[in-house]
Symmetry: C2
Subunit: 257 residues, 2 copies
Amino acid sequence: MHDDLSLPELLVKGEQHFLPSVSVDNVIFGFHDNELKVLLLKGRESRKWGLPGGYVFKEEDVEDAAARILKDRTGLTDLFLQQFHAFGSTERTKIALIKETFDGFQLDLTKDSWLMQRFISVGYYALVEYAQVTPTPDELSAECSWHQLNSMPELIFDHRLIVEKALQAMRLQLNYQPIGYNLLPKEFTLKSLQVIYETLLGRKLDRGNFNRKILSYGVLDKKDKLYSGAAHKAPYLYAFNKEKYFEALKNGLEQSF
Amino acid sequence: MHDDLSLPELLVKGEQHFLPSVSVDNVIFGFHDNELKVLLLKGRESRKWGLPGGYVFKEEDVEDAAARILKDRTGLTDLFLQQFHAFGSTERTKIALIKETFDGFQLDLTKDSWLMQRFISVGYYALVEYAQVTPTPDELSAECSWHQLNSMPELIFDHRLIVEKALQAMRLQLNYQPIGYNLLPKEFTLKSLQVIYETLLGRKLDRGNFNRKILSYGVLDKKDKLYSGAAHKAPYLYAFNKEKYFEALKNGLEQSF
């Protein structure tokens, strides 16, 4: 869609191509070993960091816009992308910073310009195995890279709040939707799934409680034992039951209520 | 804000007053005895039913717009209003129906009009004791009334989907946030709280499991026994611990993970 035009070309006549007042911001969490990171972009002009985001074409679903941005920045498709909140405060975007971000692209932005208005932003989060990702900056950015959550640089607009809210939503999700599908090999031990939950929650979990709870959801199939010299001590391998997993993503895990 | 202008007067020059492309829809669930209902409006011109909704003033937070609409339709303030999803499909609003809705208000709507564009809608839900509510139609509506969820009339746009998604979100909420604060007298039995959960979920719950789970959240304070002739059989009364309740609304209930 509009592949013949560069982003600055699209933006200068934004009102012809994009929905007014609406943007999308993606919080892309990257999991690897015991680490949780977030993907950030550094503006070419402003030299400030922010989330991968963008605008919604007039003939594009908001959800498709989020998926397009995710694909453009990571090269990955078919990821579970969860809408978690629309950010609609009047205070969230600062005109001065919009100007600074786009200065140098010769967009000829007057104060009535489409780009200089107030935007509300629909936030989505995704969780990826970051070894699979090739971070790719957009045309307005000089750099695209992974950052530790506890040592993020200063972020533009309300992007720090958006990251915090995404983390909160993702942690709540652990209690009613499954997670981990694209983060593990096809077969895995309960211990390696526990490491993911511990990393996402930022704290240690009791092994017995974790195993009991995760098995009670019915989204895991038991496979053979992990091969090792001492077979009687080897842990069992598990795989996600794809059908039950995606059913639970849609309708929630079976709960005690 | 803009109290001097009627809604049709505001709408005809909508681009001067409201954010373009953005609306708000409120799913107001009403609980009373064992019944769960939803508040709907019937258009004066279209004679079709829809959710109470509206537009966002340029200088108004989206959340404040939702609270304003809730207050205008119910007379209630300070209710817990939960944003649950932004609806952004290109297919959701049909121009023909917009025309039908506003026909007869002499708004002089051309196809370039602010009102005739595509809108994304931010959905909020609230849960109220409907005996406390005075349903009040807006200036575009002939009627405002409560409807059983399982026998709603046909709804405009994607409003049926919005109600379904709100119900799903509210049921998920039962698993990670407390509910019921404004639905019960100050002191109540666990049984009457169980009735609320059963009504929201649309199914019966086991009493022992319910009591164990609800007490484990730590948001209830035990009070005196309910007075009755046979005091030894009387159930205890409980009250919400306001501090812990609102803390849990914000950060989620303590979970096993």
